[in-house]
Symmetry: C2
Subunit: 369 residues, 2 copies
């Protein structure tokens, strides 16, 4: 472990956002000790950053930001940047602010090369640039970068005053991070990385969903147990019902995945619900009819039992409708409740399609006996 003195020296050299990230990972006691040792500048900037949630615009911004009044000349700004060259090593924009530090414009450094030394920022700045408030979620910030093709985004407080900037290299990390989070959540895995962590950490991040799945599977078993007599009479039903639950589970997972990703990318809006339900319903009707007919035919050829073939085909058709409904409604419902749709993971969807699959198939078969 680095000594306090070494770590303080490192902190003084880091950008404020990286310094805050590093400090945020330390135990509170050590954090306090280090902040006391740090220069007043680092203390003020970094301690301020630590008060924002890690996943918000404030949590990922840097406080090294180049601002200038609209009345400055190109010469003024160049002098200012030369004086603080170290702080501004990755600055590509100067933000123009009024007397209250409120954001009024943006000047890319490139523009400073194109204009005369005496040109005034007000004459060529981009007025009212895109900005973001400190408390906006990083996922939303990433979407703004994608939408506007930004390299840097000024961060403002509730009064519109410039307090920092977010650079695109940090957004690149955010996007990869959020996608990883969604992928793992969909599979019912908590925060986990492949590179680090031993077996115990893997168990901890996965056992909760497995335990939840244990309960849903027990419920499936309970549903099947209600039809014990039917199965004792037609034992092959035990084989056929697993085909139905497997197909319905996969179809439901497909639907859910397309929806969850669409929601994460901001493609699905509230008004889409009816259209999506209709599309998924029709798609699953087509798949269900094709797969239902094929399976009925195979069962008839295999067992020569017309009744069993009919139950098989009809149950498969019905259950693909169940998958479409579950796969569509669960993510939309979770979003409506303000929850992350990615947690409507495969476990939830396959549980529902299993219950439906076993109940419909065994129920129909019992009726036909």
């Amino acid at each position: 472990m680095l000594s306090d003195a070494r770590l303080t020296a490192v902190l003084e050299r880091l950008d404020t956002d990286d310094a805050a990230d590093l400090l945020g990972k330390l135990p509170e006691e050590r954090l306090d000790r280090l902040l006391r040792r740090a220069s007043p500048e680092v203390r003020r900037n970094v301690a301020g950053l630590l008060t924002y949630p890690e996943d918000s615009a404030g949590g990922i911004m840097k406080t090294e930001v180049a601002t200038a009044p609209a009345t400055s000349t190109v010469r003024d700004v160049v002098d200012y940047i030369r004086k603080r060259a170290d702080d501004f090593h990755d600055v590509n924009d100067v933000f123009v602010a009024d007397a209250q530090r409120r954001l009024v414009g943006r000047v890319p450094l490139r523009a400073l090369l194109l204009y005369d030394e005496d040109a005034v920022l007000a004459d060529f700045m981009e007025p009212e640039p895109v900005s973001v408030e400190v408390d906006v979620d990083q996922e939303e910030v990433a979407r703004m970068f994608e939408k506007y093709d930004l390299l840097a985004l000024p961060v403002v407080d509730a009064l519109g005053r410039v307090v920092g900037r977010i650079t695109v290299d940090d957004i690149v990390d955010v996007i990869a991070e959020e996608a990883t989070e969604d992928i793992l959540k969909l599979a019912g895995v908590g925060e986990e990385s492949i590179a680090t962590g031993g077996p115990l950490q893997a168990v901890r991040s996965r056992l909760p969903w497995l335990a939840f799945n244990f309960v849903t599977a027990a419920l499936s078993a309970f549903i099947i147990a209600q039809f014990e007599e039917t199965i004792a009479e037609v034992a092959i039903a035990a084989a056929l019902m697993t085909v139905i639950s497997a197909l319905a589970g996969n179809a439901g997972t497909q639907t859910m995945t397309v929806l969850v990703r669409g929601i994460a990318l901001g493609e699905a809006t509230g008004a889409d619900t009816r259209r999506l339900l209709l599309r998924e319903g029709m798609a699953s009707f087509i798949s269900g009819a094709l797969l239902g007919l094929s399976s009925a035919l195979i069962v008839y050829v295999w067992r020569g039992d017309l009744r069993l073939a009919f139950v098989m085909g009809l149950a498969l058709l019905i259950n693909l409708q169940v998958s479409a409904a579950v796969g569509t409604l669960v993510p939309l419902l979770l979003r409506g409740l303000g929850l992350d749709p990615a947690v409507s993971s495969s476990v939830l969807v396959t549980a529902a399609t299993d219950w439906g699959g076993f109940f419909v198939f065994l129920g129909l078969l019992t009726l036909m006996l």
Copy 2:
């Protein structure tokens, strides 16, 4: 649809990479017609870009690139940029090239503000900057941006000559795109978007995996059918075996997902195979022991049958080992074969865990009868 004249006018104003993307989406006949109408400059640049695969560095680069010899002064470069201000509207770096146009250095525009007009690039350029060859895959390019926190990356041909640059705003799109591709593939869905496309398109992108799943499920049914007599005798076995296959399927999907994402992020290297197998094996042994004991207990309390409880617990323990092995080996094997591990989708893993689950449980039960 835009007329050829309007579209040509649009093309002249677009950056070369966007123009190439647009043209790549048109039917070949119209593409030829438009290229004939375009200015010689657009024709040369854009037609060149169209020869690179869409997913390669060459396919996503722009050809508007600011290059200068190492002997240039700051004044030379500023004059050059002023002359081509339109082409360089998003340029933040000047690439320094030798007489053969080979890349030898990089100067951020910011540096031009810091040095005197007479300073020579060779004195303050960053020598041997990171670059990428035209034929490198875009996923690898995105990884370089993440690793080096780049805003722009020069693209060179096989001889090291600068031919273009990739900007980070395009990489932001690539990262989101690649993550979406992986998420959809994991669920067995082809290229599909939630916003567009009707039910027929949804069926087309999903039916292939459902059909494949139909075959694997039929194989499961065939395995179960071999134990028809056992099931006729112990009908409750039909209920219990579904618990085992559900849990093993989910555990396998969890393992596979962590691995596939790790591989996509470049975290899992070849040397990790043994460590990963060991970790997954141990993790699934712990989960298997916990879940196996609980289920054995529940079965005993529910049915009062010690033999059935023993078979249940042991089969669950064994099958979680099968999931760990399948979930780890399938992605690693696919990568070893040079295939995309993301296509080892849930369908493949749950198929294998279903077969294992039904066979082990019913096999053990038959032996104990």
